[in-house]
Symmetry: C2
Subunit: 202 residues, 2 copies
DNA sequence: TGTCGTTACATCGAATCGATACATCGACTG
DNA sequence: CAGTCGATGTATCGATTCGATGTAACGACA
């Protein structure tokens, strides 16, 4: 899950930890994000595995006063960071990560996993769906559709005899949300098919 | 979260671990449940704290062949377990838990927490909402309403400039789901108000 | 008779969370 | 112009939770 998030975000842009967390918070629905306590260890793990690499060395606070040349280095570093899309970055000690070829392979693997039962993971896979081939993307959506149909039927089976008011209300909400998700998915799938046909006709 | 789940389920019925997990799986939306790796430690913790207690001692497999009287004991135990609502229970070695007065207090505390940002936790709190007073229940729903309104506005603010197709699709889905949840909540709240007015008129 | 699926408890290592520590910087405030 | 506050940033700690695995009894079925 967290690997998918990191690799997906880094494919599009080189980023440092803090920024990674912020973007992920915007990607995931609700108030969900990931904690620093999982992010930093995950980055280390991925770096060890060679899936990501630190692009810019962290600028340590020099213990001795900066010489002119060092200050120049720092300015150059900041300029590079700014270029790479981190305008809001103030503060010192950033460690900017980028993805490697191995990381890109790993991302495709993660995006192609047959398991579509985890909601948060599926959300991330849609967010990075443009990195999949047309076929793989369509397959992802259709597998998800099957999953949701299964859930809907499970819910229907359980919504049998007269329950507690609030229990019943919850089932109602869940059913509505699944129906909604299915309609949304069908629109996505229709869009994909349309795109595929247009491609073939060229 | 897990404490809330355990205490809520045990308030309604004495249960053992395996059954607890199954029921929780039915309560939570999607394929979500909790793992044994968190359930059993949590039960131990709650037992130490005095919030739950083992109602029936586990029936250990006797190392020596059962005497007639022991077999009788076992049968009696099974009958008691069956009475307490565990019809499907076969197999040996169950440890049935019940809630204590302290546990009931703790449940009310958890149900009354002001934080309604966690989706799973909110679902559980609705599931056990009948254990709250009319006022507290209404407050829970209204706080959740405010939370969802905040999320909706956050989403709107972010759904600004032309993004990636799939990113846009995700935002669409999230917005729809929130709107759906809000409508559902409003129905719940209306129901509560109606009930309150009827009470006053008596 | 064997062996498969279900019921059931338990534990382990790894992943993750939530809190906290520490430090820098910009902006607002008295 | 010093002082504080909030945002930015990296990092680690203990507790929680997960996912996998082990063990075992039992019913069903071949």
């Amino acid at each position: 899950m967290i690997d998918l998030a990191i690799l997906g975000l880094l494919t599009e842009q080189e980023l440092h930890g803090y920024e990674l967390k912020k973007r992920l918070g915007e990607l995931l629905p609700g108030r969900a994000s990931i904690s620093f306590g999982s992010l930093y260890p995950a980055l280390s793990r991925l770096e060890t595995q060679g899936a990501v690499k630190a692009v810019e060395e962290r600028t340590a606070v020099p213990s001795s006063p900066m010489s002119g040349s060092l200050a120049g280095e720092l300015a150059a570093f900041r300029a590079r960071v700014r270029e790479s899309g981190l305008r809001a970055s103030t503060g010192r000690g950033k460690k900017v990560y980028g993805i490697t070829d191995l990381g890109r392979e790993r991302l495709i693997e993660l995006l192609s996993s047959p398991d579509v039962s985890d909601d948060r993971e599926f959300t991330l896979r849609v967010a990075f769906a443009r990195h999949l081939s047309d076929g793989a993307r369509l397959e992802l959506f259709e597998r998800r559709r099957t999953e949701l149909l299964g859930r809907r039927d499970d819910l229907r089976r359980r919504t049998a005899t007269g329950q507690d008011t609030y229990l019943g209300a919850l089932r109602e909400r869940d059913t509505e949300n699944i129906v909604n998700d299915l309609a949304w998915l069908d629109r996505l799938i229709a869009g994909e098919r349309h795109a595929l046909i247009q491609e073939e006709q060229q």
